[in-house]
Subunit: 362 residues, 2 copies
């Protein structure tokens, strides 16, 4: 491993709440040799996480330097308060996906929050529980850290070291900016996905047979469990309701325009709403969708062991580094499609090299 991957934390870590996030943090820290003490209101949950390799059950004589509270938003403030009291020398952080709600509760109770630094890893899975935990869950993901004016530099540094050790990217934000941001890029999309999926509930078998990748993508996160989401949405309603109201107006505009599509201006309304959607999706950074940093190449391969390895061996011989790769099987077809990304400069040469070697480039 390079220097940038060296372990920063050199301290006992206590994790309270051994669900998906708590157990994933434990797995990642244990793989770096860090002592991890696990606590949970359910002893059997601690044992499961411990058996999975996420740490050891907490002892009464533990003295953690940093405590990560990984419990649902409704009880986050309670647990933070209890941990601050039980371990007055430790720094307490959390992973709740809302930041103002627990902060306001702590402030209202007059808790001394000098040693509390809010946190939120932008990572998760549709499947919950320690059993779905992965040590690599946070790799390359943003992890918001909310400092207070009162936060001592050493406490902030400790939390950021933890974040870096988990492979995530610390981003300092105010709790207000955080909650507004996740309302827009996480909570409202969840509602939209769930409500779209709801419309499919009574669909005919014939209709769902026609479903393609579009509706699958739009509704993927609708598989998330309602229990946790109700807490998140309720705790961040101030950031969400305004966005939902705008969405309602837009939906009303489109519905009205469609209902009376021959009216002057009706098509223009729809065009403007959809163009604004083009502009909105273009705001999302990164590889997904209309990424222009890489060129795509599709190769058709026979559906038998060794074909993909052969292709990749030859790509290795050509000294090509793949930026992204997907293998897909067409239902019932005797072939697979390999779609991969390369830097645009090499695309043309690579295609002709592959064709020279008798690969079928689509």
């Amino acid at each position: 491993m390079s220097d940038t991957n060296a372990v920063r934390l050199d301290a006992q870590v206590r994790i309270v709440g051994t669900g998906l996030l708590g157990a994933s943090i434990g797995l990642a820290l244990r793989s770096q040799g860090i002592d991890v003490a696990l606590a949970d209101s359910s002893p059997s949950s601690v044992h499961l996480a411990s058996d999975l390799g996420a740490g050891r059950p907490a002892h009464s004589d533990d003295s953690p330097k940093i405590i990560v509270v990984c419990v649902p938003p409704d009880v986050t403030a309670d647990v933070i308060e209890a941990e601050l009291k039980a371990f007055p020398d430790a720094v307490v952080t959390d992973v709740a996906s809302v930041k103002l709600f627990p902060l306001h509760q702590l402030q209202a109770r007059g808790v001394d929050i000098t040693h509390y630094v809010g946190g939120h890893p932008l990572a998760g899975r549709e499947r919950g529980g320690a059993i779905s935990a992965r040590g690599d869950l946070f790799l390359g993901r943003p992890w918001v850290v909310c400092r207070d004016e009162e936060t001592p530099a050493w406490a902030l540094a400790l939390v950021e070291d933890l974040v870096l050790d988990l492979g995530a990217v610390p981003i300092e934000m105010t709790p207000e900016a955080h909650d507004e941001a996740v309302g827009l890029v996480s909570h409202v999309p969840q509602i939209v996905s769930s409500l779209m999926a709801k419309q499919l509930e009574g669909a005919s078998d014939e209709a769902v047979r026609l479903a393609g990748q579009g509706v699958r993508d739009v509704t993927r996160i609708a598989a998330s469990s309602p229990g946790l989401w109700i807490q998140i949405l309720g705790a961040n309603k101030d950031s969400i309701v305004g966005v939902l109201e705008n969405l309602q107006k837009d939906l009303q505009n489109v519905t009205d325009a469609l209902r009376d599509i021959s009216a002057p201006g009706a098509r223009k309304v729809i065009a403007e709403e959809m163009s604004a959607g083009n502009a909105g999706v273009a705001r999302l950074p990164g590889k997904h969708g209309q990424n222009k940093r890489y060129a795509q190449i599709v190769v058709l391969i026979d559906d038998r062991p060794g074909q993909l390895a052969q292709l990749l061996t030859e790509l290795g011989e050509l000294n090509i580094n793949l930026e992204d790769l997907r293998l897909e099987h067409a239902e019932g077809a005797q072939m697979g499609m390999v779609e991969f990304s390369v830097v645009p400069e090499v695309r043309e040469t690579l295609v002709s090299e592959l064709e020279k070697r008798n690969w079928r480039v689509a």
Copy 2:
């Protein structure tokens, strides 16, 4: 190739409209040695498609047995009418994503539609034009065929042979059932995705940095071009408006419940809407999401050429056939994650074999 892949069509095919779908059909048919004549209102578009290998420019003495109309919905009926008149012995089919709209136009004009069989391949890309065409675009995809009571069996058989030669799966439906189905599983999801994406237009850079896979998936198809979609939505408004009205009601319910989250029953409303979303997304068939036919394995590899090939060579040695594979790079990380699917029976043995060979299985 096996018998099931033998070419069925033995006839000249004429394609009118050489955009993404027309050129993709041409590419697939040409690869099977079928004579493809290309026509388009734009001669340069014909030349581009022809240069790409989708067929040859149409001649005045062509005598196609089957004509595929691949033009936007607004002009589909006009072109079908003209083709039926120009080639009275041929079967005319189309690929418009609405089926009642062109049919009603033809009927209103008193066109003899005995030789017209409506069609709609459920396939596409966000990128349009012949330049994005792929001969494998239809592999394994549903392709709706709308027969009429008057349709002769030979005409239907010819269209179904075309569909099978393109690797797609013909599904017979009435135009009414088709339009209702695509309204629900394609057109409304497009509107939902576009309107969600619109909300991101004015987002702060800080907010979009926190975007994860959820919002990316929900908004992926919002990158589609408005021009064609306005025609599709307008032509299918009768199937769409009702669904949009239900969606509006649901959105209103959730917004009201959130605004007054402490009121009795408010959380129950949200729970019910989200649970209905769980049930809705579970209706979608296939691999995506809650697929239980395959087991997933994640292996961490170093980000350098040859690593993935090495892994796949070893999988080949172990005689493992991959059902699906994804390589992903974590932003800024010196490693990639390879996630692949195998039949569940081999999972356990495979993981221990990989670990024995020093692969890092997550």
